[in-house]
Symmetry: C2
Subunit: 136 residues, 2 copies
DNA sequence: CTCAGTGCAAACGATTTGCAGGGCC
DNA sequence: GGCCCTGCAAATCGTTTGCACTGAG
């Protein structure tokens, strides 16, 4: 399967640590800015290449819902994401949905489920209040 | 909210029909090729613009999981998608997960859920058999 | 008539990649 | 040492957009 040998470089480690240190879901570019604080000479290309490797090894999850840029999630536990369709933003909050936990390991239409990527769409508190006030 | 007036053009109708006519989840480009059969002079830009409008009005759903290209889904009923991590392909099959149906309308951490985007990751039948045979 | 929609082509922007070193293991 | 990884910059490519024209209502 994945027998490629991987090296533990300062860059790769810094990227992973920086991602895990935040509860939000940064873009490659945001992560690049953050890691730059430690390794000023790191390049954006390196960030992309490492996120690719980290995603392959399952240490990081790619998120493509929502906007144009791919976001990354360093939370290894299964969870769902929330997207507000009104302010068009991803909420920086990981939600555990018990109903979904049961899915992993289950077999669906001859398909062995290993994980799930879930994004709940809805209206956040702030936007709900805004909309309510506009209705006057 | 959405008070913009929309016109019913041949192009928009053809795109929607072509998308609904298939059970798979085509990319904008694939849809472009398909619609070309009927409207040879349609442009890719028009396909994108219409998919944008159709997504806004909820007649079509954007899917960003998986590969680089956005895929589109004309199935209006809530359902989940399946992605095989081995052959790295989206399975052309919409799955209804009863556990998820309950989520819509529910309130999660002060968030009013209106819909969900779910992709189950796993190993498809074909790949499972392939892997099994390699283990000899 | 009006103005949303279209075709075309150029522009954009996130991501990828080729190349010449650099440094883990 | 080998070769995976890096920095840099150019290349890619899905998607968006400006413009003048067309056609739906």
């Amino acid at each position: 399967m994945d027998t490629k040998s991987r090296r533990q470089t300062r860059q790769r480690q810094a990227i992973l640590e920086e991602l895990r240190a935040r509860r939000c879901h940064p873009t490659a570019s945001e992560l690049f800015q953050a890691v730059r604080g430690r390794l000023p000479s790191i390049s954006l290309g390196t960030v992309y290449r490492n996120l690719e490797v980290l995603a392959e090894t399952g240490q990081v999850v790619r998120m493509r819902d929502g906007g144009a840029e791919t976001r990354f999630d360093g939370n290894p536990l299964p969870h769902a994401h929330i997207y507000c369709t009104s302010c068009e933003q991803l909420v920086d909050l990981d939600v555990v949905v018990p109903e979904l936990a049961q899915l992993t390991g289950a077999e669906v239409v001859g398909f062995l489920i290993t994980s799930h990527h879930v994004t709940l769409h809805g209206i956040c508190d702030t936007c709900r209040n805004l909309l309510r006030n506009q209705e006057s």
